[in-house]
């Protein structure tokens, strides 16, 4: 019976996970310069970059280089000691190119999290400001389908522990509670009309004028444009109060409304 039982079990599991992967964003078509730049990077942090998997991002070039040039760039990455594993971003042209190169196109998650013209160092929606250009952090882990990736608001239903809501390039309005262990993130300002017990991060792309408003303050953490404050104990003067948070020359301010 046990032999039979074994044969009934699947031969493998297919799982999706999110991993941080370095992204080589090409700014000009020059394979020789690319080798030089990447070699310098690998030398500076061999532990991190030697045989590191990287994706090649051609989206910042005015137009897609021809196949021979792309081949040369892939070769340049290899000769610098890294391993190209795919192409980033997805116009249909890139897709066709990826197919010709026999490489996967790693597109979907990036497209969700970066503005179309993302020169501003793609600040991850996390309370860390500067991220090295070559090694962008993976996008927000653990986003559940129920939590819409872009939302003007998340009306009515609470943001539960473990869920994330991200409003890209706009404000976020949450008309319910944000639980402990939940995260609400916006490139603009955040308004929470229930209890804010979790984390709120406004100005995720670096907008220092973004603000956080909430009607019942019990947050674990608030951040604006990467400047953050954690609250191990909720300050007595703000607990349960309606407050707003803003940045005043790099300092995160909180005041009752």
């Amino acid at each position: 019976m046990s032999a039979r039982a074994e044969s009934l079990e699947a031969a493998c599991d297919l799982r999706f996970g999110q991993v941080g992967i370095a992204c080589v964003r090409v700014r000009r078509v020059d394979a020789a310069a690319l080798v030089e730049e990447l070699e310098r990077r690998v030398r500076s942090a061999p532990q991190m970059f030697t045989r590191a998997a990287v994706v090649l991002d051609l989206s910042h070039l005015p137009r897609l280089p021809d196949d021979g040039m792309v081949d040369a760039m892939l070769e340049a990455i290899r000769s610098a000691g890294m391993l190209p594993v795919g192409l980033a971003y997805g116009t249909s042209e890139t897709e066709a190119l990826a197919e010709r190169m026999g490489l996967p196109l790693i597109a979907k998650f990036r497209a969700q999290y970066e503005p179309a013209q993302g020169e501003a160092a793609a600040a991850a929606p996390a309370p860390v400001a500067a991220t090295p250009r070559a090694a962008e952090p993976a996008p927000v882990p653990g986003v559940e389908p129920g939590a819409a990736a872009t939302a003007q608001h998340h009306a009515g239903s609470a943001v539960r522990s473990g869920q994330q809501v991200y409003a890209r390039e706009r404000d976020l309005v949450v008309a319910a509670a944000v639980a402990n262990g939940a995260e609400v993130i916006a490139d603009g300002s955040i308004h929470v009309y229930g209890s804010l017990r979790g984390r709120a991060m406004a100005g995720a792309q670096g907008d220092e004028t973004a603000r956080i408003f909430c009607s019942d303050f019990r947050a674990e953490l608030v951040a604006i444009a990467g400047h953050y404050r954690v609250f191990e104990d909720i300050p007595k003067e703000f607990e349960g109060q309606a407050v707003q948070c803003w940045l005043d020359s790099g300092k995160l301010m909180i005041a009752r409304l």
Binding site: E9, R160, Q163, G181, S195, R197
Partner: protein, 270 residues
């Protein structure tokens, strides 16, 4: 139409199996045809609480893998004609269950004319818990009046509204029922325990029942009798009220007030 109810919590030891047993029994007392399934493969307990542990021949995993028919594996309750138990396997692990297999079993139960299927979820948010909630129409989220249980329940409520068939197909959401168990009004009054109001406020939904902490629960579990059958215990009566509310009847919440010790007890202790 068969209604599938998942009893879940995230955290372990809050009373999921006790609740599953009493809920299934309560529905059967009401004349409904009920199957209660233990999804806790590897750590089966439901058969003990239901008092049928010595009658388990085939289990849920056998049926999922086609090693036994559903009819062979369903254990008829010795007290109630319309109540059946499907035990978990103690010797396998949670990966022995598959989504297709679970769906097949639930479809068969539907075809057999069951009114309710109660799915007793394992703790955690891994595969077993996911499969237990995936096909549900109702969810009874069991929570204890303490912060870690409340947070885990919050997580589960989030998963119920995103990681279930109803959510994935964009159908009407699962009906969520919050059940507060091991409630001790005296300790709430002393500020040692969260109150019903605290829990409702944090989770943003109202309770379908409050089961008082009671010695009878442990005694009933050890005896293999669902506590709902213990007419003399507050917990049993509270479960009866809860089942009635889930069936759409109104019942006032009981046993929320602290029990004042009498004069003699105060003098002599007790």
């Amino acid at each position: 139409m068969t209604e599938i109810i998942v009893v879940t919590s995230g955290k372990g030891g809050v009373g999921k199996t006790t609740t599953s047993a009493s809920l299934a029994t309560g529905l059967a007392i009401d004349g409904k045809k009920v199957a209660v399934i233990d999804f806790d493969v590897g750590l089966r307990n439901l058969d003990l609480i239901m008092g049928c542990e010595r009658r388990v021949v085939y289990d849920f995993v056998n049926v999922v893998h086609g090693e036994a028919t559903l009819k062979q594996a369903l254990i008829k309750d010795k007290r109630h004609e319309t109540l059946y138990v499907l035990a978990a396997s103690q010797t396998r692990d949670k990966d022995a269950l598959t989504q297709e297999g679970v769906e097949k079993v639930l479809n068969e139960l539907t075809a057999e004319g069951f009114d309710f299927v109660v799915c007793d979820s394992p703790a955690g948010i891994e595969k077993g818990a996911h499969l237990a909630m995936y096909f549900a129409d109702h969810a009874v989220v069991v929570v204890n009046p303490e912060v870690s249980s409340v947070r885990d329940s919050d997580r589960i409520l989030g998963l119920l509204s995103s990681k279930t068939r109803r959510a994935e197909k964009g159908e009407a959401p699962i009906k969520q029922h919050l059940l507060l168990t091991r409630y001790n009004p005296n300790r709430v009054e002393a500020g040692e325990m969260l109150s019903v109001k605290d829990v409702e406020e944090i989770l943003g939904i109202s309770v379908v029942g409050v089961i008082p902490e009671s010695e009878n629960v442990l005694a009933a579990s050890n005896a293999g009798v669902p506590v709902i059958l213990d007419e003399n215990s507050n917990a049993g009566q509270a479960y009866k009220d809860t089942v009635a509310r889930i069936l759409g009847n109104e019942r006032p919440l009981r046993f929320l007030e602290p029990v004042k010790k009498g004069f003699l007890k105060r003098v002599f202790g007790g």
